[in-house]
């Protein structure tokens, strides 16, 4: 069922068993799992079914520290969320990510990769990725020309990405959600406040507003905040009428430890003999390899998790770093710019007269490749989301993001290239060349061209200990019995790979937990009767 909240009567009360705030990858994955259950699900979406710049404007904020994208254009605010323009890159987090890694402060998840595996399996269906997606052997049997580098397998391995079409959740799941009998989707319902009981141990209701001037309240036995990494923190911090520091923020953790997923053009690989590097190109529509460092080497060298992709140098040089050009506050304009730049770099390739005599296959051969590092960011309490004094049109303070790194990021980048360079030397395939910004070992800063993947993590981090995390292993806020957080804001650490696949897996896990909790509540209330 779909209700446009702009046409509700003012001060209406909406009641349900569970209220999901946000209809992006996380919120929709939970709603899909709760479909056809006996529970009434209220799904609140701040925007409509299409991009609307006035709605997007509610996300505008300030940034300081390391240069970052405009907050307004870094997440999408309509049904389907940021899947409206994501690239579809999926790969699971490695088991090492979930471990306590002593050299990374505040690392360690309260769950293991093994515990998440069944949910990764289920998440494949939401994201339309195949069953053999991450098995290099499988893909090499399908296509023997997908050759991996001849490196020592105890040092470097090829991690496989699988590509979602990419699934646009807004398009794919709109009818399913709207036609689901127990899902009540409210569009143009922006949560502006959360009200808890007197002890602040249980949320009673959330207040929603829109530009039509309507203010309504939603009650439910359980609430899930699924508004993505920056907005989850913003909503909690802004709910400060009962807790001055914000809801769930007794230990001053909400908004802290903001992490991105770094993407840096940082080195070149020059080959002795030209190669297509087919396995490592975006050649196949569904699969691509990237170089990753074996876990025992990450432990030995005390480095962050990072992976390296390859693009022919002549093409890479024509594509600017995202951070320097994704500067428009309208995400559609930013997207258009990069689509055009990529087309010009890849599509309108000037072919030399003599080169045109060569076969198509030979023309794909290259001697030099840009290496792009994708690196997890170390948790850093100074990298954080806070509130601005300025408020949006609905009266909610805007988000302020201060993006900051530790010294571990640069150390890790250098070490990873050192390892790859050594393997390239031992095998005699070529040599690695570092970019100038990495040369000074004493300089811990990262270049201003350091981009993020628009992946916002860590602002409501997960830990069994309330002093180290906002939510527990079930993604429930410590001290509040019925308020949960979905999405990458719960990640205590990021990874070298993109977070969407893990967001969906973790959301399905949360949905299973909620179903159990609701079932138990129902059993108890039936027992009382």
């Amino acid at each position: 069922m779909h209700i446009d909240a702009r046409f509700l009567e003012n001060n209406s009360l909406i009641e349900g068993d569970i209220c999901i705030i946000g209809a992006g990858a996380a919120g929709l994955s939970i709603a899909l799992e709760l479909m056809n259950t006996p529970y009434k699900v209220i799904l609140l979406e701040g925007g409509g079914f299409q991009y609307d710049d006035r709605i997007q404007e509610l996300y505008r904020g300030k940034t300081t520290g390391q240069p970052y994208y405009p907050i307004k254009s870094s997440e999408l605010h309509y049904f389907g969320g940021t899947t409206g323009h994501w690239g579809g890159m999926c790969s699971p987090f490695d088991p090492v990510i979930f471990l306590k890694r002593p050299w990374i402060a505040k690392s360690g998840w309260p769950i293991t990769r093994e515990m998440l595996m069944p949910y990764y399996d289920r998440a494949r269906f939401n994201l339309d990725i195949g069953i053999y997606g991450f098995d290099l052997d499988y893909w090499q049997k399908q296509d023997p020309t997908l050759k991996s580098f001849p490196f020592d397998e105890n040092v470097i391995w090829t991690k496989i990405w699988n590509f979602s079409p990419p699934t646009r959740f807004g398009e794919k799941y709109r009818n399913t959600i709207v036609n689901a009998k127990n899902i009540h989707l409210y569009t143009y319902a922006n949560v502006v406040d959360i009200t808890a009981n007197e002890e602040i141990s249980c949320v009673n209701s959330v207040t929603v507003k829109n530009y039509a001037g309507k203010t309504n309240n939603v009650t439910a036995s359980h609430f899930v905040l699924a508004c993505a990494g920056i907005q989850n923190a913003r909503v909690l911090l802004a709910a400060n009428k009962q807790s001055p520091k914000g809801l769930g923020n007794d230990n001053d953790l909400v908004g802290r430890y903001f992490m991105e997923h770094l993407e840096i053009k940082s080195a070149e690989l020059w080959l002795k003999q030209k190669s297509e590097l087919k396995l490592y190109m975006f050649a196949s529509p569904r699969v691509q390899g990237e170089l990753a460092i074996m876990p025992q080497k990450q432990i030995e060298y005390e480095i962050l998790n990072g992976i390296v992709s390859f693009t022919p140098l002549e093409i890479a040089k024509k594509i600017p770093s995202y951070i320097t050009k994704w500067t428009n506050t309208d995400p559609r304009e930013d997207q258009k710019y990069f689509d055009q730049a990529t087309y010009e770099a890849r599509g309108n390739r000037i072919v030399h007269f003599f080169e045109s005599f060569k076969s198509e296959e030979t023309r794909k051969m290259h001697q030099s490749f840009q290496m792009i590092m994708r690196l997890e960011q170390a948790p850093n309490p100074l990298s954080r989301v806070t509130l601005c004094n300025e408020k949006d049109e609905l009266g909610v303070p805007r988000a302020a993001l201060h993006w900051a790194f530790t010294s571990l990021e640069k150390k890790s980048i250098r070490k990873i290239y050192e390892i790859i360079g050594q393997q390239a030397g031992i095998t005699g395939i070529g040599r690695v060349k570092l970019m100038d910004e990495l040369l000074d070992e004493k300089d811990e800063s990262l270049p201003v061209t350091t981009s993020g993947g628009w992946h916002h993590m860590g602002t409501t981090r997960m830990s069994d200990d309330p002093k180290n995390g906002v939510v527990n292993a079930d993604c429930r806020i410590h001290g509040i019995q019925n308020l949960y957080i979905a999405g990458s804001s719960c990640f205590p650490t990021g990874s070298g790979v993109n977070p969407t696949y893990t967001i969906v897996a973790l959301s399905i896990r949360l949905a299973d937990h909620l179903k159990e909790v609701l079932k138990e509540n129902k059993r108890l209330s039936n027992g009382k009767k």
């Binding site: 002795k272 001697q367 050192e418 360079g421 030397g425 031992i426 070529g430």
Partner: protein, 131 residues
């Protein structure tokens, strides 16, 4: 007159461009036949000038190796140098390639002008820059 002028201009232009071309080709072939100053893998994507610059940078990083004598002693230990087999360029080249690989295996790696190269390669470049 015009025809004669044309021929003269053509010969002069041909000589002006041809001689440096032939000279450079000759130099390249001589250079490539000297394994000690020809890091073979690096040479597949670095031109002679870049390699010379690598060598200059290496000598700045390691002033103790700022002489031909020093560099030669690292590249070819005396005993081996005296061995008659080293008159064989191919063998010499092969031995240097092995030495480069051993450097990488033993972590004798140095970053010069951004390049992650072996110590042996760096010394070959340094020797080239002194030649």
């Amino acid at each position: 007159m015009k025809r004669r002028a044309f021929i003269l201009v053509s010969i002069t232009a041909g000589t002006a461009t041809g001689i440096p071309f032939l000279y450079n080709s000759y130099r390249r072939s001589v250079w490539r036949n000297q394994p000690l100053i020809y890091p073979s893998l690096l040479s597949s994507f670095c031109d002679e000038e870049s390699l010379r610059n690598l060598g200059i940078s290496y000598r700045k990083i390691n002033p103790a190796e700022n002489s031909e004598k020093q560099l030669l002693s690292f590249l070819i230990p005396n005993k081996v140098r005296e061995h008659s087999a080293l008159t064989d360029r191919a063998l010499e080249s092969h031995q240097l390639e092995m030495k480069v690989q051993e450097d990488f295996m033993n972590n004798k790696i140095i970053v010069v002008n951004g390049w992650e190269i072996s110590l042996t390669e760096a010394r070959q470049c340094a020797l080239l820059s002194l030649s």
